[in-house]
Amino acid sequence: MFRSAVRLTCSGVRSLTRTRPQFTAPLAARGYSHGKQETDEEFDARWVTYFNKPDIDAWELRKGMNTLIGYDLVPEPKILEAALRACRRLNDLASAIRILEAVKDKSGPHKEIYPYLIQELRPTLDELGIATPEELGIDKV
């Protein structure tokens, strides 16, 4: 019984770190310790493709962001740009600003990450007219 509980938690943790975005699995993305290990670039490309879907719906946006935030990483600027453009296609400004708050929180104690992300996203934010939480004054309680 203990062994089955351990097996359950191990597979649960692994599937959490390796869930594929389309939620129809290409084999390399499953939680096996054998099999091809996905590179960082492949991971990023998969997520950019996910958010670049022209007819992405609101559920997929939320699911994608929540899954992405569950990983042990802060998303790359190119993934966030694709997500912000998806918000634009869905007319969802609230989610766009929430994404910025989420990545700031995801950085944790590493305070140099968020300013870097805003610097990289600045052209996209200006183009899409997205204000940062700091500009709106909602970053302080």
Partner: protein, 103 residues
């Protein structure tokens, strides 16, 4: 950053009595920080420490609390005379089935 350095060098070469100190400007772009594996890095550092500290805490408790307690019990019972204690209790009159020798 390169153009500001070159500008400084040009000004220094042309206007040699003056000198222009080239400082890095705040508009210089931020370098890319590490953005992956931050939690695993933290765990790889803190979990061995946490594990070791827990084991040390357990060992300290064992040798400062439980072992002295066990020793105290052992010392008490090493010279314990059950019959002597029973007779003392009997004379104190606490039993119902056997009364003190006086009654």
């Amino acid at each position: 950053m390169d153009t500001s350095r070159r500008l400084g060098q040009t000004i220094n070469s042309v206007y040699s009595p003056l000198s222009v100190k080239v400082v890095s400007v705040m508009t210089m772009s931020l370098p890319k920080p590490v953005m992956r594996g931050l939690l695993s890095k933290r765990l790889r550092f803190h979990l061995p420490i946490a594990f070791t500290l827990s084991v040390v805490a357990a060992a300290v408790f064992k040798y400062t609390v439980t072992e002295p307690r066990k020793q105290a019990y052992a010392d008490f019972y090493k010279q314990y005379d059950a019959m002597k204690e029973f007779n003392a209790m009997k004379e104190a009159g606490i039993f119902e089935s056997v009364r003190p020798s006086g009654e």
